[in-house]
């Protein structure tokens, strides 16, 4: 069993004006090769206009086991939403 090149995560901007979105991963010896492999694996039909590659080991992720506690500070702040506020039906543009 030989050792593999490092793992890279691939992000693609599908068209100008949109965010880069995670599409998958691949193995490559370095960033340049990761970029070229990403082009060949993930954009054979012009699915992208821009690619980001990041070595997977550099990604820090939130812990799903603590998902509830981590995100619940937002739960009791309904006043962050426009629907929290009552305005007369007769008004427009508000």
């Amino acid at each position: 069993m030989d050792t593999q090149w490092p793992l890279w995560e691939v992000f693609i901007r599908s068209k100008q004006g949109l965010d880069h979105k995670h599409v998958g991963s691949l193995h490559a010896a370095d960033a340049q090769m990761a970029m070229e492999n990403a082009r060949d694996v993930y954009t054979r039909r012009r699915e992208g206009v821009s690619i980001w590659v990041v070595e997977s080991k550099h990604i820090h992720a939130s812990n799903p086991d603590e998902q509830e506690a981590f995100f619940d500070p937002a739960d009791d702040k309904a006043y962050r939403h426009p629907t929290f506020y009552e305005v007369p039906d007769s008004l427009t543009h508000i």
Partner: protein, 313 residues
């Protein structure tokens, strides 16, 4: 599994509510194991599946056919890579999967152990083998494991070109000379039954199905998918004016489906066990490609290290 009652409940609830399970979520070990087996098997099938068609790239009858076949085979390589990448999110490594393929421990679709004897086989493979794969893969776009489902969405978008280019080859042959029609019919005769076997053993002989359905990894049973495939394919064969080699094939008014004859399961199990016409040849080709590519992998790694060292100076 018993050790985490809360986690298990949460997992079951998620699956029941049709939510996706993501890589870092807790999951029962048998679920993880089943996925690693299924996804890596699926990846291996894409990779080994390049061999029978690769056999005809240099002999394609025109430049157009050659470019198309090459593009299709490249797509299959891509599918293998999407799927290996999905399997790796479950904690298995690429080396391990490749090793299991080369040692014969891991399986791949039995269909790729049949030889491609004529150009018409390229037509039948695109039409029927990719057609059967699509039947299998469309429901997998909603499979419960997120990375697998997303890989399948990507794959399904690309498969329909595969099936159409195959059918186009068949249409050309079917409208061609007597010899071309005979070649098309011969290919259909050889591939029809192995294609039906692609859906796997009958439901009552497929012990993993129930659990896979419960986990929503699978959405339809093997027999359900096989029936859907037969129903969809018969009119396509009729349009070509080709005969499906099954004397029992008949529309059943009450069932609203085609009835079809018995499958030779002994043949299926022989192929699965490694005794199909091309099993050894396929594995040898994979191993050889891997071994002969070792120096490229080593050179690329050495070059990357050298460049890194230089840039750090």
């Amino acid at each position: 599994m018993v050790a985490h009652p809360d986690l298990q409940t949460q997992f079951d609830l998620r699956v029941a509510e049709d939510q996706r399970i993501e890589p870092k979520d807790w999951m029962p070990e048998p679920y993880r194991r089943t996925l690693v087996r299924q996804i890596s098997q699926h990846a291996h099938s894409e990779i080994v599946g390049m061999l029978p068609e690769g056999n005809w790239i240099t002999r394609a009858p025109s430049l157009r056919r050659k470019a198309v076949l090459l593009a299709k085979v490249q797509d299959e390589a891509g599918h293998g890579l999407y799927l290996y990448s999905a399997a790796e999110t479950l904690g298995t490594s690429r080396e391990q999967m490749i090793d299991d393929l080369h040692s014969g421990k891991a399986k791949y679709s039995s269909i790729f152990n049949y030889p491609t004897l004529s150009w018409a086989d390229m037509g039948v493979i695109g039409w029927l083998v990719d057609g059967a794969a699509i039947m299998n893969q469309v429901p997998l776009c909603r499979t419960s494991y997120g990375p697998y489902a997303r890989a399948m969405v990507r794959i399904c978008k690309e498969e329909s070109f595969h099936q159409r280019q195959g059918y186009e080859i068949m249409m050309t042959l079917a409208k061609g000379s007597e010899a071309q029609r005979a070649m098309a019919q011969d290919a259909l005769n050889r591939w029809w039954w192995p294609v039906l076997m692609m859906f796997g053993p009958k439901d009552d002989e497929s012990p993993n199905t129930a659990l896979s359905m419960q986990w929503k990894i699978k959405r339809f049973t093997n027999d359900e998918l096989r029936q859907k495939f037969v129903d969809a394919t018969v009119p396509q064969a009729e349009y070509l004016g080709l005969n499906i080699p099954d004397p029992d094939l008949k529309w059943n008014e009450t069932r609203g489906h085609y009835d079809f004859g018995p499958i030779n399961w002994d043949e299926f199990w022989e192929v699965v066990k490694g005794n199909g016409p091309c099993n050894r040849q396929r594995l040898e080709a994979r191993r050889k490609a891997h071994e002969e590519g070792a120096w490229v992998r080593e050179a690329a790694a050495a070059y990357a290290n050298k460049r890194k060292a230089k840039s750090e100076k």
